[in-house]
Every structure is written in C-alpha cells, then in structure tokens.
C-alpha cells in the first residue's frame, strides 16, 4: 500500500473527478444531479402517459419504458454518442452526450416510480377532488401529484444512488468523472490497487450514506410497514 499516491492526487480526484471543478468539463455530481432533475421531469410525463386513458398516449410511453429497461445503459450511451452527431450535424462535447443519454435512460425508470407513486394514492382522493368541481388535470396537479411525490421520495433517493453509480459508465466515452479521473492518474502512477480502492470508498460512502437516509425516510413516511 502506497497511500501517498492518493494524497498527491486528492485534489484532482475529488475536485475534478467527483465535483467537476477544473480543466475538464467533467465531474460525477455535475452529471448525476442534472440527470436526476431532468430525468424526473421527463419521467413525470412518461409516468402520466402510462396511466393515460387514450391508447395513443399509453402505448408509446409503455414501449418507451420497456425498450429502455430492456437495453444495457452502455448501449444507450453508445447510441447517443454515435447518433447525436448525425442528427445535429456536428459532434457535441461528452458532457452533453452523457447528460442526454442519462436523462432519456433514467426517465424510463423514473417514469415507473412516478406511476407507482400515483397509483399508491387512494382512489377516493380522485373522486373527492373531482366531486369538488376540479377537472381531471387540476385534480392530478393539485391533489394527486403532491401526495404521490411524498410517497415517491424513498424510491427517488434509491434511484439517485443507482444513477450516481451508473454515471461511472460515462467514462467510456471519455467523460472525466471520478472513475475516469482515477484512470488518468493510474496511467501515470500505475497504482491500480490504491486508486481503485480509493474511488470505491468514495462511491461507497455516498451510496451507503444515502441508502441509510432513504431507509430512515421510508420508516418515517410509512411507520407501520417498517
């Protein structure tokens, strides 16, 4: 064990690799945080679409979800890496490609969480809301979704953990996240054991900490189940 390699490169690994401050447009958090926010926005539409009464909305959203849940994320990243330049006519930076891929991919999973959240709201709530004279859309926006979100929070935290770990795959198209930063340092220092164990510890701390938090939230929101 040669821990000096960690100390010497600590700033690069954490500031550049994890947070994304530095020479490269990179960073694990800088990818994961916007990805979950935009993914959730898209996911709300997907989730609502899967519950829509019209078949013309329900079928395409179902296909969307089943498609992205049946394909490896690595494949999806490559799709965007090769297809975006063809569609846009010029190549985009790794950050835009990775963010688009993650938003589109995560929206399929987040859509299912949204759907489950909406379905967990008791039916009487919809009936009561419409009985007071709200339209279906109003009832959804003011009555159902706020309650659904409360139920979704633990699942969303869990999905964010999955996403945070998955962002490591952005390194395969050259995005400088924590994993790529460790690879860069390793190419120079040849200390794989120390470096990979160190980034494993960083991921572990975030992931384990958040999963404890999700667990506590779940217990607080749903005391009788836990």
């Amino acid at each position: 064990m040669e821990l000096r390699v960690i100390a010497d490169n600590f700033a690069f690994l954490i500031l550049q690799g994890f947070f994304g401050f530095g020479a490269f447009a990179g960073g694990t958090l800088r990818l994961a945080v916007p990805a979950i926010v935009f993914g959730l926005l898209l996911g709300i539409f997907i989730g609502l679409g899967r519950l829509a009464r019209s078949r013309w909305i329900r079928v395409p959203t179902t296909i969307y979800v089943e498609f992205f849940r049946g394909v490896p994320l690595v494949m999806v990243i490559f799709w965007f890496w090769f297809i975006i330049p063809v569609l846009v006519g010029k190549s985009l930076p790794e950050y835009s490609v990775a963010l688009t891929a993650f938003v589109v991919f995560e929206a399929a999973y987040l859509g299912e969480i949204v759907r489950a959240g909406i379905q967990s709201v008791p039916r009487g709530q919809v009936e009561a809301a419409t009985a007071t004279g709200l339209t279906r859309a109003q009832a959804m926006r003011h009555v159902i979704l706020p309650q659904a979100f409360r139920n979704m929070i633990p699942a969303l935290v869990t999905q964010f953990i999955v996403l945070l770990k998955d962002t490591s795959l952005a390194s395969i198209i050259g995005y400088v996240d924590l994993t790529k930063a460790a690879q860069i340092v390793n190419n120079r220092e040849i200390r794989p054991f120390e470096l990979y164990l160190f980034i494993a510890a960083v991921y572990w701390a975030c992931s384990y900490g958040m999963s404890r938090y999700a667990h506590a939230l779940e217990r607080r929101l749903n005391p009788q189940a836990a």
């Binding site: 049946g70 394909v71 490896p72 690595v74 090769f82 390194s171 980034i199 991921y203 572990w204 384990y208």
Partner: protein, 241 residues
C-alpha cells in the same frame, strides 16, 4: 450530412460472425456469473436472517460493501488491481487464458451476488416466522430447517424479483467491454469501427439484447407458474429492487 443506411453490412463480411461470437460470450459470462451470484446470494441472504449475530454482520458487510460501489469500478479492480497481488505463476497462467474474462466474471458474480442476497433475504422475511418455529419444533436443526423448509419456499416466492435481477445481470455484462471482453456490445462497436455504420451496428446489438431479455422473461413467467405455491399466486412480488 445525410446519413446513408446500408443494412447489408450486417450480413456481408464478418459482421454476422462477430455478432454471433459476441452473443455467445455474453451468454457464457452471464450464465457463469449468474451461478456465482446465486450461490453467493443464497448463502449470504440466508445468513442475514441467521439466529447468530456475527454471521448476520458478516453477510451484511459483504452485501453493503459490494453493492454500493459501481460495477465498472469492480471491473477495474478485479482486472487491474487483483492480478498483481497473485503469485507470478498464477498471474501468467491467467493472462494466457483470458484474464479479462475471469476478472469480469468475478466482478459480475460478486456484485450481483450482493444484490441477489437482498432479494433472497426479502423472500425469507416474507415467510411467517411460525414456519421456522414449526420446523424446529419437529426436531429439525436450524440448518435443516433452512435447507428443507425455508429456502425452498423463499426461492419460489422470489421468482419475479429474481428474474428482474437476472436480467440486470445480463444487461450489466455489457460493462465487461471496458476491460476488453469481446461480448455483444464490444462486437457492436467493432462493426462500427470497421464499417463506419454506427446506426446499423447498434440497432443489431440492441435488437439482440431486447430479444434475449424477452426470451428470459417469458421463460421465467412459465417457471413462476409452474412452481407457484398453491394458494399464494399473486403474492410472489416481494421486495422489488
């Protein structure tokens, strides 16, 4: 620039053979890693509900340690960091015999073992405690009660989430391309490199993955029905994720 489709690249030249090789490697590594994951998962999942505290802690440490770190990091770890720790003879043998395959196998199996463990634990905890008490009161030892009563019931209860996890394992085998395992995604990229037909190559790979997942899901629905516990149909879904 308008993109010109040329689907013939998939069956003229070497592309077809590459895809087939990739598919075989993907199935091979997923199948072997699945067995490793199931063995580790059943073992540690059962231990997490064991009546002996140190055994529970050991199993919980395994699960929490491995599942909270990205699979990609484990791939790098098993491939780059572990071999230098091995004796020279073993290391040389490994690098002559496809070290990347074995590293990816360990990474996939150990990582998904931790995830299977959670599924199996949820299955065991879904069984009423009285089953275990009744088993022990008939004179079975704790090990016998697990082997003959608890695990057979739990394994039948968890078929839906276990199928989900198995499909995750299959899809995650694509991460092995990062350390040079020539599986399906790797071959898809190879076709792209040689023919510059990204769209066609990716479409072929994607369709194969979708068909694989669909086949397994259909097969498992049949298995689930075949092994359903009478009177418990529809209660199978325990502890998704």
């Amino acid at each position: 620039m308008p993109y010109k489709f040329d689907w013939t690249v998939l069956w003229t030249g070497q592309a077809g053979g590459w895809l087939l090789d990739g598919l075989i490697t993907t199935i091979e590594i997923s199948f072997l890693a699945w067995w490793l994951a199931v063995v580790l998962g059943i073992g540690s999942g059962a231990l997490r509900t064991a009546p002996v505290a140190p055994l529970r802690w050991a199993a919980a440490s395994y699960v929490e340690f491995f599942r909270n770190v990205p699979l990609l990091v484990w791939m790098f770890f098993w491939y780059f960091a572990v071999p230098p720790l091995l004796p020279d003879a073993v290391r040389e043998w490994l690098f002559d015999h496809g070290a990347e395959f074995w590293a990816a196998l360990c990474a996939l199996g150990v990582y998904h073992g931790a995830r299977f463990s959670e599924v199996i634990r949820a299955g065991i905890q879904a069984i009423p405690k009285t089953q275990f008490e009744a088993a022990v009161s008939t004179g079975l030892t704790v090990t016998q009660a697990y082997r003959l009563i608890i695990l057979p019931i739990a394994l039948r209860l968890i078929i839906p989430p276990a199928t989900n996890e198995s499909l995750n394992l299959l899809k995650n085998s694509s991460v092995a391309l990062t350390i040079g395992v020539a599986e399906l995604t790797f071959q898809t990229r190879q076709i792209e490199t040689y023919t510059a037909k990204a769209f066609e190559a990716l479409a072929a790979g994607t369709v194969i993955y979708l068909l694989l997942c669909l086949t397994i899901a259909t097969l498992m629905t049949w298995v689930e029905r075949r092994f359903a516990i009478p009177g418990m149909i529809g209660q199978g879904a325990v502890g998704e994720n």
